[in-house]
Amino acid sequence: MAALGQTPSQTVGPFFAIALPWGDGPDVVSHDTPGAFWVRGTVYDGDGVPVPDALVETWQADPAGRFDHPDDPRGAVAGFRGFGRSPADSEGRYAIRTVKPGPVPYVDGRPQAPHLVVSVLSRGLLDRVTTRIYFADEEEANAVDPVLAAVPAERRGTLLARRTAEGYHLDIHLQGPDETVFFAV
């Protein structure tokens, strides 16, 4: 059977905010979850101007490194949403409330460092771009992470969220001298 032709991507446009934000969108976990913290940052364009019509989405494993998904060969664990969705505000800022994920195996079974996979959509992006958020304070795990190893050393910092008083901070640069590393997923 021949494969069906796939539907092309189109930009999310400037007006997605009438539909895609959810009241609990930023809450990967609820506010009373032990250890919950905020990952915050700003989305910038190539001139360093904040992007107010961006949408940041995250997907991650639970603190044990497991997914609530039937394709997790270790067996699905029910009840961890794993998904966060934050429209940027008028200053281009996004915010995701979550907990640190546990280790997820790489294709050869080695553990990856804790990470979130991320989609960024906006007006002016004809397709989503995808990146990862790692945690700068996971130095040992990051040092042996096979995905980080595929990134030129001088650009790895664009993927490392730094500790703040209320969680972590990582800006996303769609373009420019500090351009975020995006992956061909």
Partner: protein, 240 residues
Amino acid sequence: MSNALERLALPRYPRPEDVHPPLDFPDYRSTALRHPKEPLIGVPQTLSEITGPLLGHGRVGELDHDLTRQHPEEPQGQRIIVYGKVLESGGRPVPDTLVEIWQANAGGRYRHDGDQHPSPLDPNYTGLGRCLTDREGNYKFITIQPGAYPWGNHPNAWRPAHIHFSLFGRAFTQRLVTQMYFPGDPLFPFDPIFNSVRDPKARERMISRFDLDTTVPDWALAYNWDIVLRGPDETPPDVD
């Protein structure tokens, strides 16, 4: 490390060639400062990428699929039914997956503060819809025909009428945000967003089909549109 994890037999979702638009597309001016200039870095799909949020139950209200019944009275405009299937490229339907849509009203105006098009808002129309596909991957919305609207990309620029669609599938690799168009729109040759899809055949896959058989007499026109997401590269089922 347990044996089960030494070599994970995971599905792969190969990225298609010549389907999606380039991120750098000068005819659509907003791409200029928003497309990455560094090459994308290729990495294998791991468990993080081949899983994804299975959302929807509890997020879809009773009237979310019917954009004509979300206010005390009916909106202005031509009532339409938009329906189809969400499929993977191997042909398998995607059941129980969340479909979110948004659109302009009959006059081509979005209910959004940033929309300055001098065409009236309709107090009886929001332009937001949600549904879950059924077990066979079917979705269905009742809405009104959106209007074309002007935008500032170039002199006398107008977007062809369209409905925005957001889809999750069942894996991070399958996430898709796109737009559905209507057959025969005279604005197609002039729209850089539509034409950002370079393959004419792929472009046609964004155009719905008018369906007289599903059109309801004395009530609403019907348009049929199937959405095909990236599928896993396992051998597809032999249907012959």
